[in-house]
Structures are given as structure tokens and as C-alpha cells.
């Protein structure tokens, strides 16, 4: 096989234009008419018109045609994006070691267990901060979403499960200026909004109440307390991801979480990764279709401390009825702050 054939064989499947929507005929004709109306001899001596002016000029040309000929012509509209915007995929490098996931996670659990217990000043409460994004909360009404809107979660929790949770929409991130305009046109917010909930004693995050166990077996039962046993091992990985977003974990509790993950059937080493906050971590995944669509569920762990850094869900094979391309991120959590602080006023 020669070099050209070889390159085509290996990279051909990645061609992003294989299924790209073609330009519609009416727009193609409008642009042709506009270009032909340009004085090409004069044009060579001057700068090309700015990009947006060209588009506006195309709209004007159609308006003139309507006024002059009395024919109904649909004005040029920026087409809706074909697929919802989703966060960039993380890039995973080679594993830190050749150890199997269960062995490596047990080693990280030991690292976690050896960390010093952070001092807790009197009168302080647990304080966490994370950035989260979920596809299911970003698509509504069948409308394709053109921006990624991460949520900042900040929480304060007392030992008797009272507390406060503040969820703030961060400014959306767009693929292009055109998407930003489309977003505004639909009435989407470009600034940020905030929701705050205060919880009385015993009400904060009803799923996880009381002390987090420091033994992996006990933790399994505690995570599912009040609920049925999970149908698939990946549920424990998801529970751990949820837990890390709402509870401050001591070194012993982190060790229990990592030991629980080590015991999950099907967990594999995904590799080293720089997470969404720019931190280096080791990633461990379970790939399963337990929830319908085949997906990879990944936990990212700081190898120096055993701290959970983040969590990712990626659709791997099919998008089902979701308006996204494959593979695509459908959830991420990035745990940023976990410590003790004064209770909020």
C-alpha cells in the first residue's frame, strides 16, 4: 500500500464532512448572484468586503428582488446548528503504570488513606465548589442548543445536614459568533443567573445523609440506602461522582470510595489526563449500555492525594434520539474546592 492509500485508509473515517449538510441551493444561488454583481475589475484593487457585510449584502439583494419583482422569496436565515454544542472531549494519554485498574485504584486508595486529616476550625461547615454540565438539562423542546452552559455549584453543609446550595449558570461558550447571535435570538441568556436554596436540618441532599462510611463494603450499602440494589456496577461509579459533588470526603472516606471503585467489575484504566481545570489525573472508566445508550463513565483521580478531581460521561456508539454527534460528552463534573469554611450568612 502506498503512502497516499495508507493515509486515506487510516484517516478517512475521521472526515468531519462525510455527513456534513450541504449548502442549500437557494443560498448558493443567492451568493452566486451577489458575486456576479460585484465589479470584479474594481474589486482586485480594493480590500475584500468584511465577512458580515457580505452576508448582509446578500440579504439586501434578496429584499430588492422581492420589492422589484413581487415574488415571495424567503430571506436568508442563519441555519440552526445541526447538532447541539457539547463540551470538548478530554484527551487521555498513556496510563501511569501497567497495573490493572483494580490494583492501581487500591494503590491510590492507600495514598488517600495516608493523607493528613485537614484541621477543622471551630464553627466551620463543609464547603464545596464544582463546575458541572449535563446534556439532558441543556436540550429542551426539541431545539438544538448552540452553546455549552456549565453550572457552578457551591454548597455549605453542617453536620446535621442543614445547608445551602447555590447553582449559578456560567456564561455560555459558543462554537462561533453566529451561534452566539442565534442564542440571543432565541432569548437565551448570555450573562449568568443564580439559584439559591437553603435547607433545614436533615434536609440537605436527601440521598446522602449522615457520616460517609470509611469502609468500602459499608459505603456500598450506605450509597444505596433506601433504594434498590443497582442493576449495574456503573451505578456505584455514578453514585461516587454524585457524592464527591455534595460532600466533603476525609482521607479515609476517599480511600473507601477508591476501594469501592477498585472492586467494580468492568472498570478499566483509561489513562492519564489533564482535566477541565488543568490538573493532572489518572482516569478509570466503565463502558456499558446499562442506561440504554452505550457510554463510557469515567472518574478522574489525583494520583498524589487520591482526591477525586472529576467525572465524565461520553456516548461512544450511538446518540439515539439525542441531537449530538458521536463520540460526545454528555456530562461532566469538575470538583474544584472541598474544605471547611464559615457558614454563609
Amino acid at each position: 500500500m502506498n503512502a497516499v492509500d495508507e493515509v486515506r485508509q487510516v484517516l478517512g473515517g475521521l472526515d468531519p464532512a462525510r455527513a456534513a449538510p450541504p449548502c442549500d441551493d437557494s443560498r448558493r444561488g443567492q451568493v452566486l448572484a451577489l458575486i456576479l454583481s460585484d465589479d470584479r475589475r474594481a474589486g482586485t484593487a480594493r480590500r475584500m468586503m468584511p465577512r458580515r457585510r457580505l452576508v448582509l449584502a446578500a440579504v439586501s439583494a434578496v429584499v430588492v428582488a422581492v420589492a422589484g419583482g413581487g415574488v415571495a422569496v424567503e430571506l436568508y436565515r442563519q441555519p440552526e446548528p445541526a447538532y447541539a454544542a457539547t463540551p470538548v472531549m478530554l484527551t487521555y494519554g498513556p496510563p501511569a503504570t501497567t497495573e490493572a485498574a483494580s490494583t492501581r485504584l487500591r494503590r491510590l486508595a492507600a495514598v488517600a488513606a495516608q493523607q493528613p486529616v485537614p484541621p477543622r476550625p471551630a464553627g466551620t461547615v463543609e464547603h464545596l465548589e464544582s463546575t458541572n454540565w449535563f446534556l439532558n438539562s441543556s436540550i429542551s423542546g426539541g431545539r438544538t442548543v448552540s452553546g455549552v452552559v456549565p453550572q457552578q455549584w457551591r454548597s455549605w453543609r453542617t453536620d446535621d445536614d442543614a445547608g445551602r446550595m447555590v447553582k449559578k449558570d456560567l456564561p455560555p461558550i459558543f462554537r462561533s459568533d453566529a451561534d452566539r447571535r442565534q442564542w440571543k435570538k432565541w432569548g437565551g441568556r448570555v450573562g449568568s443567573s443564580e439559584e439559591m436554596h437553603d435547607y433545614a436540618a436533615g434536609e440537605f441532599y436527601s440521598g446522602f445523609r449522615g457520616a460517609v462510611p470509611t469502609d468500602a463494603a459499608a459505603l456500598r450499602g450506605w450509597l444505596r440506602a433506601g433504594g434498590s440494589a443497582p442493576q449495574a456496577p456503573v451505578q456505584y461509579l455514578e453514585d461516587a461522582a454524585q457524592l464527591a459533588g455534595v460532600r466533603l470526603l476525609s482521607p479515609a472516606q476517599r480511600a473507601a470510595v477508591l476501594t469501592l471503585l477498585a472492586d467494580l467489575p468492568g472498570i478499566t484504566v483509561t489513562g492519564t489526563v489533564t482535566d477541565r481545570a488543568g490538573r493532572t489525573g489518572e482516569a478509570f472508566s466503565i463502558t456499558t449500555d446499562a442506561h440504554g445508550l452505550p457510554a463510557q463513565y469515567t472518574m478522574i483521580v489525583d494520583p498524589r492525594s487520591g482526591v477525586l478531581l472529576g467525572y465524565e460521561e461520553v456516548l461512544t456508539t450511538t446518540a439515539g434520539k439525542l441531537n449530538v454527534t458521536i463520540p460526545t460528552v454528555i456530562t461532566y463534573r469538575s470538583y474544584l474546592i472541598a474544605g471547611y469554611t464559615a457558614a454563609p450568612r
Partner: protein
Amino acid sequence: MDAAKEQFTELYECHHGDVWRYVARRVGASDVGDVVADVFLVAWRRLDDVPVGSPLPWLYGVARLVLANEARGRRRWQELTLRVAAEPDRTVQVDHADGVVSQRDVAVAFDRLSTGDQEILRLVAWERLAPTEAAAVLGQSRATFAMRLMRARHRLRRQLGVTGVRAGRTSSTAPSMSNWGG
């Protein structure tokens, strides 16, 4: 219609789809139409410079410059949103999990190459240009392009050697040095 308009209209109708796909491979979907319009506006104004027998590499060369101007304007924005940016529409459609793994390995390896190497490989793999045509797009001699293609291919292979063995994956469909042939 005068001769120039006829010539340009034929050029536009024949190659609009090719230029559209070239641009769609390199920018977000919503910007493709604007960039393609710019490319053909340049072609109209420089119609006398368009090679009669083989205009496509010339059009790709113009598109490359238009995109470079576009990229310069957006660089600051891209730097700000590098980590959590929304991806441009990508279509890596495959049917089986093993296939996804191998496609992802190739995608990771490709992303790790320099932009120069990536463009050389794109022109060959996606635009399906012969080396002589691809050399014309980049304004190089055929010999220079052939050398750069060889080096880019070797660097891609080397990256695949790294990504292909990660995570202990043993997918039989993953590209590897042994099943590439060549």
C-alpha cells in the same frame, strides 16, 4: 451573460460542493457559508489567475488563506475557551464499540500532530488530492510535498504507537504498525 460570468458560473457550480466540504472540515458549521462566499469572491475578482485545467487546488489555496485570516481574528477567543470549548460539529460515526476505540485513538494521534502535518494529511485523506495537487494548494513543489507527506505519515504512526497501546487496549480493529500494511 458575458464570457467571464459564464466561466465563473461554471467554476462555481462545479466546485462549490468541494470547497464547501474543504471549509466544513476546518471551521464550525455556522461559518462555512461565509468562508465559502469569500473564497469564490476572490476567485471572481482574480478569474484570470484561476488555472483552467485544474482549478480546485487553486481554490483550496485561496480557502486556506481565507481561513488563516479568520483564525487570526479568533485566536484570542480560542485561547480563552480552550479547555471547555464547545466542539465544532464532528462526525465520527461508527457502529461498534471497538471501532469507536480505534477511531478515538486515531483522532487523538491526529490531534497531537503539528498543524502543518495535519493539513498535509487532510489534503490527501479528506480532499483526496494527488500529491501534485496538494503541493499546489500549499505552494510547494511535488518533491517537497512528497517528503513532508512521508514525514507526517511517520509522525502519525509514531503517535498511534503511543495511543494504540494505552489503557491496555487490545482491540483487533485498532490501527497499529502491524496492520497498516504499506
